[in-house]
């Protein structure tokens, strides 16, 4: 019998207590234990950034973290941003600027940009470019993602 470990993880403001295998990835925990399917897994080796979530406020790759490591910590996923009826300003800006196509990598970009824009409310294009350099998008060529981040920075600072 595989040994299970208790974890207590605060995800999007709610505390979840589960018994998990030591090797269970945080990405699989979020997706398959909690049913939070917005976090996408693109490469499982920490390069593409699609699975990015916030770990105590910092953007991390959930495919490179075991869920036991997240015990006692706060995780935020894309589901914490906005709903289809009430999008977060960054999500609104992504739609306005056509910064997503297939949408698979998008949650990772959003979760990378949310803390970035909170810390840099008025970034230059080059700063945005650096910030998203660890996230791969195959569809857009990134230009519209940078435009969306700039649009979001305007929206967020005017709120």
């Amino acid at each position: 019998m595989t040994k299970l470990f208790p974890v207590s993880i605060n995800v999007n403001g709610q505390v979840y207590e589960r018994q998990v295998e030591a090797r269970l990835l945080l990405s699989d925990f979020l997706r398959h234990e909690l049913g939070l399917m917005g976090t996408h897994v693109g490469c499982e080796h920490g390069i593409c950034g699609a699975c990015t979530v916030l770990f105590d406020g910092e953007a991390v790759r959930s495919c490179l973290i075991f869920s036991v490591q997240a015990s006692g910590h706060e995780i935020r996923t894309v589901e914490s941003l906005g709903t289809p009826e009430n999008l977060h300003p960054l999500q609104e800006a992504f739609s306005e600027k056509h910064a997503l196509q297939c949408g698979f990598c998008t949650p990772g970009f959003l979760m990378t940009l949310v803390p970035f824009l909170e810390q840099n409310p008025h970034p230059t294009d080059d700063e945005v470019r650096e910030a998203i350099d660890g996230n791969i998008c195959r569809c857009t060529g990134y230009e519209k993602i940078i435009e969306a981040a700039q649009e979001a920075s305007k929206k967020m600072s005017s709120r």
Binding site: H45, L87, C102, F104, E130, D133, Y142
Partner: protein, 781 residues
């Protein structure tokens, strides 16, 4: 043409669900009792299978079943030929060796599946793979294309006399005669290197055999839901409507998701029926690199014959094309190369020969561009070589030879992937280049910017190329448009969607005809229970072919609305007009009926109706073009090269494009920009590399470099021309692959120009700093 909705930069309807993490992708599908599959794949590229011992794996707790090829009995058969070769090309040879679902007796590429484990979780399934003993005797691997062609080579398929997969010779005019008239003949050996589709979502497949209803439901990340349904039904001996294929949101396609005969497609339906259980399989990134398909990888021997003034008399191209270990996709890719090699320019004499070879590598099928980038690369490189030889400016020699608008429609004499002789339908190829040179300020760059930069010790270079994109090919697509009793409109079509924005552009087409709000049009793609005819999403044909079918169906529904409303409003049809969401009498807007109410009246539940009346406000229509429509464009890249580190910065990238009528300019820009990034990736970052033993050296994103945000130019400058295609009523041409096609030759030309003092003669489409260093080193010697 621009209307209230058609031609407008409308935000996408699908965005809200994607952005909020609520859109359903393949791995989001959960069915109670679902089992999980994992494949054991061969590490050897070429080997005789001695023994596969799965006894320990079968005992692994949580494992439900383990299968090897023998366990499938008579069900094990090589898959169907997904794309047959065109019979119209006389004298062509083609040896079909289609994919086997799981290796039996022999392994032909590294990554080929040899066993499959079904378990309660993916973790357990992968654990059990470790328990399998796979014993094989390695054979020498067939890797080098030219050596593989020789009769003395080791063979990939023992039952064939050689590794010849196809031999196709096509000629328009007479090249050898033309060569005799030429002032100069320039020849080169060129390489188009191999790249991955690398969609951010890997492939996935979920299947549930419902024994009570005798129905098989399949969720798949396929670009071709209806061909997949036909394939599964055929294998499982079911009639097609016992198989329902549903495509959830798909995280990018780019070509490799067109396959319907991979191991998962074939084996999982059988296993699901056998175990009477739902099964999920998700490909991981390593499997995607090893065993899904990829493309390019050609070696070209080219010759161009010209007059002294730069007029092209003829072109000859004999090329080796790697099809990998099997050739399930026929000759689509190298045929596209043949049709795109000379499609921009007036070339009266053209000889082209495909030598398609089997190798011990993963199978080659289309990746965004699909043979077109290779054809355009060799043509543009030869134009560069000719310009050097004749001491002409690269832009000037192109301008001199580009086809003129009055030459269309132009029969090319070369049969393409759509099985008919190529016809260039329309365009203004010179106009593209003129606009490009203006936008990039070519004269100013040559006369002021570049000389000044050189004085300052900077290495700035420019590349200027032209291209075409054959799009909108047949056979056909169809659609059904229905007005609901709530006044909203549903549209169902047989293609599937991988992020192109179909939910929005198709809604725009319908909304324009029926004068309803775009958000009131619900588009359904890729569900075979909603629409069961169609070929799929490939070759930039979604918006053009399915879009035209949707337009045609909308026109029919509009006619039915007028006929029905005229009856119920008691006025002649010409007195009726569409108001938003309703039908009213001209000049008397107070007399109207909502579309929803009219839909109800068109579908009476009691009483008599006229004999030939079809119920509802609904129509189904199809569209089949005689041949593909050809988009065109031109591209310029200015690079700043550091000759010490060979770090390359793209200072400017300008692309002028003509895809005819535009449905949504915002989404059009997205398509072009995305393809440009793939082209930049292909030119300087991405490359699939096999070693001499057939081991893939680039099976992760650590080794296979994807273009990142900091690799892109600050701005992609895009210009548009609009020449309508005469081949469809809306005048559209496709655009999906355009940006990926001209980028590598423009980049290579720009690098050569930046390092002009080294007099480089670059033969490769995919560069990297160490390759350029080697070119410089060789050149110095």
């Amino acid at each position: 043409m621009t209307g209230k909705y058609f031609g407008q930069p409308i935000k996408r309807l699908e965005d809200k669900h994607l952005l909020s993490g609520r859109a359903k992708f393949i791995d989001d599908i959960e069915i109670p009792g679902m089992l999980h599959a994992a494949f054991l794949r061969s590490d050897y590229a070429h080997a005789i299978i001695k023994k596969i011992d799965v006894s320990e794996a079968r005992k692994h707790p949580g494992v439900v079943a383990v299968y090897t090829a023998e366990d499938f009995g008579d069900y094990w058969k090589p898959g169907p030929l997904q794309v047959p070769p065109p019979t119209a090309i006389k004298g062509s040879q083609f040896n079909a060796r289609t994919l086997v679902p799981i290796a039996k007796g022999k392994v032909r590429f590294s990554g080929e599946p040899v066993a499959i484990v079904i378990a309660e979780s993916r973790y357990i399934a992968e654990d059990a793979l470790e328990d399998i003993i796979f014993d094989a005797e390695p054979l020498p691997a067939v890797i080098d294309l030219e050596k593989a062609w020789e009769d003395t080579s080791v063979k990939v398929h023992d039952d064939l006399p050689s590794n010849l997969a196809a031999l196709v010779k096509q000629e328009a005019g007479n090249y050898e005669e033309a060569k005799k008239q030429a002032d100069v003949v320039v020849s080169r050996k060129l390489y188009a290197d191999r790249v991955a589709g690398a969609a951010m979502e890997n492939r996935g497949f979920v299947v549930n055999w419902d024994e009570r209803n005798q129905e098989m439901v399949v969720w798949a990340t396929t670009q071709a839901p209806l061909p997949l349904r036909i394939a599964i039904a055929g294998k499982m001996n079911l009639i097609e409507n016992q198989v329902r294929v549903i495509t959830p949101f798909i995280g990018g396609g780019f070509g490799p998701k067109i396959m319907t005969s991979q191991a998962d497609d074939v084996l999982l339906p059988w296993i699901s029926m056998k175990l009477n259980k739902p099964i999920k399989w998700l490909e991981d990134r390593r499997e995607n690199f090893l065993a899904t398909t990829s493309e390019r990888d050609q070696v070209h021997y080219c010759e161009i014959a010209l007059k002294k003034d730069g007029t092209i008399l003829g072109f000859k191209d004999v090329f080796y094309h790697n099809t990998g270990a099997y050739d399930p996709y026929g000759m689509t890719v190298p045929l596209n190369t043949q049709t795109h090699t000379v499609s921009n320019y007036r070339i009266p004499n053209f000889y082209t020969e495909i030598r398609m070879v089997f190798t011990n590598e993963m199978v080659v099928t289309p990746v965004r561009g699909a043979g077109r980038p290779e054809g355009v690369f060799v043509m543009e490189r030869m134009m560069d070589a000719a310009a050097k030889e004749l001491k002409m400016d690269p832009a000037e020699i192109r301008m001199k030879n580009l086809l003129k608008p009055e030459e269309f429609p132009l029969k090319t004499g070369i049969i393409g992937q759509d099985f008919v002789e190529g016809v260039l339908d329309s365009g203004d190829y010179k106009g593209n280049l003129v606009k490009l040179l203006e936008m990039v300020e070519y004269e100013k760059f040559r006369k002021e910017i570049q000389p000044q930069a050189r004085k300052e010790g900077k290495h700035l270079g420019i590349g200027v190329v032209a291209f075409t994109e054959g799009t909108a090919v047949g056979p056909y697509e169809g659609a059904r448009v229905t007005i609901g009793n709530n006044g909203k409109v549903s549209v169902a079509t047989g293609i599937s969607t991988q992020g192109q924005g179909h939910f929005t552009v198709f809604a725009q087409i319908v909304a324009e005809q029926l004068n309803v709000k775009v958000e009131d049009v619900k588009v359904i793609t890729g569900d075979t229970n909603h629409f069961h005819w169609g070929a799929g999403t490939f070759a930039s044909r979604g918006a053009t072919i399915a879009g035209t079918a949707i337009h045609n169906a909308s026109v029919l529904v509009r006619q039915k609305i007028f006929a029905t409303a005229s009856k119920f409003l008691g006025v002649p049809e010409d007195q009726v007009e569409l108001c938003e969401g309703s039908v009213c009498v001209k000049g008397k807007p107070e007399i109207s009926i909502s579309l929803g109410e009219l839909a109800g009246k068109a579908n009476p539940m009691r009483g008599a109706v006229e004999a030939d009346v079809k119920p509802g406000l609904e129509a189904t229509a199809y569209f089949a073009p005689p041949h593909g429509a050809t988009g065109s464009g031109a591209c310029a890249i200015i690079v700043d090269v550091d000759p010490e580190t060979l770090k390359i910065k793209i200072d400017r990238l300008v692309l002028v494009h003509d895809c005819g009528t535009v449905i949504n300019p915002l989404l059009l820009e997205g398509q072009i920009q995305g393809a440009i990034s793939m082209g930049i990736g292909n030119a300087f970052y991405e490359k699939i590399v096999y070693d001499e033993n057939g081991q893939l050296l680039t099976a992760s994103f650590m080794d296979y470099l994807m273009p990142q945000a900091t690799d892109m130019p600050n701005k992609m400058e895009i210009g548009h021309l609009h020449t309508s295609s005469p081949l469809n009523p809306l005048g559209m041409k496709g655009v999906g692959e355009a940006g990926a096609i001209p980028t590598p030759p423009a980049f290579v030309q720009a690098v050569e120009d930046a390092l002009i003092e080294y007099n480089l003669d670059i033969a490769d489409s995919n560069l990297n700093p160490s390759m350029i260093f080697e070119y410089m080193h060789r050149s110095k010697k």
